[in-house]
């Protein structure tokens, strides 16, 4: 691996500084050494990046790495491989591991394993409640000391208003901004449900998860955040009424951020008609009207972040009956291309805004120092270079251990060429380095 690399002639999207220019970027010793036109390589290896886009490395606020406990689905090594392949330099790791990431020991274990794998930085998300059981608070303080900034009970909605209120209030104790993130679906309304309740659920004979299940919990969480001054993050928003609630709360100054997944931005419950278990996700894919509201909410800044909810499962788990298949789709390797194809190319979202939502904003929320930064001299060289025009067909195998992608069989535009973590190429010419 050369000590210095000159990335020649890329379109440089610097979402943090809101600039969009063509420039050369010289990287040396893990940092950006120079930015400008016609830079002298000074002995550095030159990568021709003309026609390509260079941006801060992507950051995923919602990733399931499955380790410890579910290594048959994904490992920290395979999950960070998938991250690098998708242009990510940092990912979170959700707390629904076995044992649950609800104490500092597990946080340290995940960090250590990720450091060994070395393909992307991993920022563990801690559980809000012990064992994700929704009953008693986990030791948030100790996990904050271990570097955790985001807490979430993952797929479990914090079941009671009282528990959520206590967590939001308690988290104010810490000097760092600590975020309580919630999966917003009322448990009593979605129990036993497998897809959005609507036209298709009724004719497919699948029990539904109604949209109001999300609206109810988002309203609850926002009311508590408003009253307590706590800092709430709404995970994977999926419905139009929830977007509108968040828009109004932000207008009123409530401390709220929100994320949306690429699959909710692209697919709807129409895609469930063939009982494709890869399209079975929680919260469920909803109607075209909901999808439009999500796109609009992302464009106007109501929704801050695009997060993958990368949820790997074993082949045999997804090749089962629809109601028995676990929910979730992998997403790291298709996220950027999905956003480029379905939002940027049609003009819904500018490229700088897309990079902001996939790098700058999630890095800020996750406390991922060194990621999502301005592309300026002295900054850490955590970068992605992609071809915005290359079309490709999504099909296995993936860098991920899993293959349960909702995008399987779909053509996307935009392909990762290089991913760089602290000056080292984790992906070179589209191939993940081991």
């Amino acid at each position: 691996m050369p000590e210095a690399l000159l990335l020649r002639g890329a379109r440089v999207i610097d979402a943090a500084a809101s600039t969009d220019v063509h420039a050369d970027v010289l990287v040396a010793e893990g940092r950006i050494d120079a930015v400008g036109l016609g830079l002298d390589p000074k002995g550095a290896e030159v990568l021709d990046c003309r026609g390509l886009v260079l941006a801060p490395g992507l950051v995923d606020l919602h990733t399931h790495l499955r380790e410890p406990g579910f290594e048959y689905k994904e490992t920290i090594a395979s999950g960070t491989r998938a991250a690098a392949a998708g242009g990510f330099t940092a990912v979170s790791s959700m707390a629904n591991t076995e044992p649950v990431t609800d104490h500092a020991g597990i946080v340290a274990e995940i960090r250590d394993k990720a450091a060994d794998a070395g393909l992307a930085d991993v920022f563990p998300v801690g559980a809000i409640t012990k064992g994700l059981a929704g009953e008693s608070m986990a030791e948030l303080g100790e996990m904050v000391e271990a570097g955790v900034r985001v807490f979430s009970d993952d797929g479990n909605c914090v079941p009671t208003a009282r528990m959520l209120r206590n967590a939001l209030v308690y988290a104010k104790a810490f000097p760092a901004e600590v975020v309580i993130a919630d999966h917003c679906e009322d448990p009593s309304l979605v129990a036993g449900g497998h897809m959005h309740e609507g036209v298709h659920s009724s004719s497919l004979g699948l029990a539904g998860r109604p949209g109001e299940a999300e609206e109810i919990i988002v309203a609850r969480d926002l009311a508590i955040a408003r009253a307590s001054g706590g800092r709430i993050h709404i995970c994977h928003v999926s419905s139009a009424p929830a977007v509108e609630l968040i828009r109004r709360a932000k207008h009123d100054g409530v401390r709220v951020t929100a994320e949306v997944t690429p699959h909710h931005l692209v697919f709807t419950d129409d895609d469930l008609v063939g009982y494709d278990t890869n399209c079975k996700v929680n919260p469920p894919l909803r109607t075209p009207e909901d999808r439009e509201a999500l796109r609009a909410g992302l464009a106007d800044g109501t929704i801050d972040v695009i997060a993958t909810d990368h949820a790997p499962h074993a082949v045999e788990e997804k090749e089962s009956e629809f109601d028995l298949a676990p929910p979730g789709t992998i997403g790291l390797e298709t996220a950027l291309a999905a956003v480029l194809t379905h939002l940027v190319d049609p003009g819904t979202l500018s490229l700088p805004r897309a990079i902001e939502a996939m790098s700058v904003a999630p890095a800020r929320i996750l406390g991922a120092a060194g990621h999502g930064r301005a592309i300026e001299v002295g900054g850490p060289a955590n970068l992605v270079v992609f071809d915005p025009a290359e079309r490709w067909l999504v099909e296995p195998p993936f860098a991920s251990k899993a293959r349960n992608s909702a995008f399987t069989g779909h053509e996307l535009t935009g392909r990762i060429r290089h991913t760089m973590l602290r000056g080292q190429l984790t992906v070179a010419d589209g191939k993940v380095r081991d």
Binding site: S203, A207, G274, D323
Partner: protein, 320 residues
């Protein structure tokens, strides 16, 4: 064309008519002393039943045997996954045993469609979860057409727990395809909110509908659902939505009372009503065998498809 029988949505009006016409020629076979024709000799039909069912399995078994097919019954309580084997692996096993047709009954909606991705043979849906039960719908259509002479324009009420009923779905879709006028009636909690998109009417008032019906089709009340608080009590259900003797008395002359079985006498249908002359519940069962013979014959014995492309039953086959 349809290599499989998965959903009534897949069948056009012409397809349905062809299936019913073919069933008509097989109906007579069941009245003979030797109830057998050689149409499917050497073919293998697997009854793959992952959910308890006696009447549907026996009906399919009789249908296949009367066509001289070899029949294998593969039953298991619960899902294949619960036994540690995936649906796909089980399907591939049946495939490897040379199944020409797989009749599947499963508690999971959509599993017959999934099966078609993994096996070469024809797949017949014998009821999947709360999705569909197309062969039940076809035997019901057969019975209505036989008794009333037509399907187009018939006024049919489907009464009860539509939300959890695969029979209600398939029958609604089939009746709408054939131009009938369908009203779903039941407690609002048991009618899917989007049911009007099926092309049917929705009503919560059985008494208002009764005097105008050609067919009053009662659905079985799943007693276990009651726990989920969809309605307050069996008593109140019977009072509002049960086919009582008084309501049966208001049904127009010549109208039919139908039920897919098994009945909960005293819940959705009063015992003496089930035994009235206009009740055709037993004939539904008898017709079920002929309709299933028709489907197996059209898939395995003629052109391999249901609908256009399949050949009509040659007279000598039906008479042989």
């Amino acid at each position: 064309m349809n290599r499989h029988v998965l959903s009534m949505h897949d069948l056009t009006a012409d397809d349905v008519t062809r299936v019913l016409d073919t069933a008509e020629s097989f109906r007579e076979v069941g009245t003979r002393v030797i109830k057998k024709v050689p149409a499917l000799r050497g073919r293998t039909v697997v009854n793959f039943f992952l959910e308890n069912s006696t009447r549907t399995r026996i009906s399919f078994e009789l249908a296949a045997k009367r066509l001289s097919a070899d029949v294998i019954n593969f039953s298991a309580g619960g899902s294949s996954v619960s036994k540690g084997e995936s649906l796909k692996d089980t399907a591939l096993t049946l495939q490897a045993m040379g199944a020409d047709a797989i009749v599947i009954r499963h508690s999971s909606s959509g599993s017959p469609l999934q099966l078609t991705k993994w096996v070469e043979g024809h797949v017949l849906n014998a009821g999947d979860g709360t999705h569909e039960h197309p062969t039940q719908a076809l035997l019901d259509l057969y019975t209505m057409r036989e008794k009333l002479g037509r399907l187009e324009g018939l006024r049919v009420a489907i009464v009860g727990d539509v939300l959890h009923s695969r029979v209600a779905r398939s029958l609604s879709f089939g009746l709408v395809t054939m131009g009938a006028d369908v009203t779903l009636i039941g407690p609002p909690t048991l009618i899917p909110p989007d049911a009007p998109t099926w092309g049917v009417q929705v009503s919560y008032d059985l008494d208002a509908a009764i005097p105008k019906l050609d067919v009053c089709y009662m659905l079985r009340v799943q007693r276990e659902r009651q726990r989920l608080e969809y309605f307050p009590s069996v008593r109140e259900y019977n009072r509002l939505f049960g086919l009582t003797g008084a309501r049966a008395g208001i049904l127009p002359e010549g109208s039919l009372i139908m039920h897919p079985g098994p009945m909960n006498r005293g819940v959705e249908i009063d015992s003496d009503v089930a035994d009235l002359p206009q009740s055709v519940i037993e004939e539904q069962v008898t017709n079920g065998i002929a309709v299933r013979m028709s489907l197996l014959y059209l898939l395995l014995g003629s052109g391999g498809v249901v609908g256009a492309g399949g050949q009509a039953v040659p007279g000598e086959v039906a008479r042989a």
